[in-house]
Symmetry: C2
């Protein structure tokens, strides 16, 4: 997705440890125009899949999921990283380890909002080692719904998540794939070799 | 806002302790059609204010803020409830006590995204005792930007937050004001007596 790649080059910052900071438009400040385009792109890529629900994780997955949900006419459910007092019973839960934060979080969703009749699209902002995506897949499996695929805004192609998901046969659509951040330079993978 | 009131009556649940659970369309599952209407309503109410930035809190404030941001052509910044490794320096920070969760959280935003030239609209999903809104106001004051007002999806009119903010002279626009949840019945305040 060319507009996204351009935005990453213009406003992304490479920090030490292969961290790509995109707080300017995705993870802290949200560019609503770009986010609309991201939602439209996800909708185009999954328009044949008859999506009935979108599943994501708080917080940075919410904006791209909502924009895709508007296009696909599908409600968005965001998994919570810890339980709140108003959401305690009847949960599907899984545990996700975050390498960035070096902590494990339980993520959970209410059993009320995804049933076995649903066709679910998972959306997240980043794919690195795949822990969050695998956690969301585990939740979809618990619901017995059909998993249509996984939509990712930015995949770090030099980490294992994308490889793991593709090898397991999941349909993975990443709007931008970073091949390398070495020496502070952002290099994208060619679209053809996704 | 009549469509919102209707949705609250149809899909909201009153729990013990004056808790209104709206996980079906606002706090856990997001109804994209309703959220579009909420964004349009905020935009209409603040269309004369020349908003340049919208400030909210993760996670449930993100969806209504993004929809308002699209209408008002303004980027959205969401305050984080704890610091992440990619966001440590140059923060505006304040402390917010959550009566629901009985914990204090530091919320922070990067100094990069709001400057003294901005006109800021604060948006949040709920207003109860006003702690979160006062925290966001504190952050806007630290930025020296102009605060245009506060947009709330659901105000609990029987708690003090709305009274405090109006008495201090802030422009507060609540799309639905709950007058009472007594005996499990949802009663709205008349629009005229806002």
């Amino acid at each position: 997705m060319e507009t996204l790649q351009r935005k990453i080059l213009q406003e992304g910052h490479v920090l030490s440890g292969n961290v790509l900071k995109v707080d300017a438009f995705l993870n802290h400040q949200i560019d609503p125009i770009l986010m609309q385009a991201i939602g439209e792109e996800f909708a185009t890529r999954f328009q044949d899949a008859d999506i009935t629900k979108i599943l994501t994780l708080e917080s940075s997955g919410i904006a791209p999921s909502l924009m895709a949900g508007i296009q696909l006419h599908a409600p968005v459910i965001f998994g919570r990283k810890r339980q709140s007092l108003t959401l305690v019973d009847d949960l599907y839960t899984t545990t996700v380890y975050s390498y960035t934060k070096q902590t494990s979080n339980d993520i959970s969703i209410s059993k009320d909002y995804i049933t076995e009749d649903d066709v679910v699209l998972i959306i997240d902002d980043f794919l690195a080692n795949g822990q969050a995506a695998l956690g969301l897949i585990d939740i979809v499996n618990q619901t017995k719904a059909t998993l249509a695929g996984i939509g990712i805004v930015i995949e770090k192609g030099f980490q294992d998540g994308g490889k793991i998901l593709r090898e397991r046969g999941y349909r993975l659509e990443s709007l931008a794939i970073i091949e390398s951040l070495e020496e502070g330079t952002i290099t994208f993978r060619d679209e053809e070799t996704n």
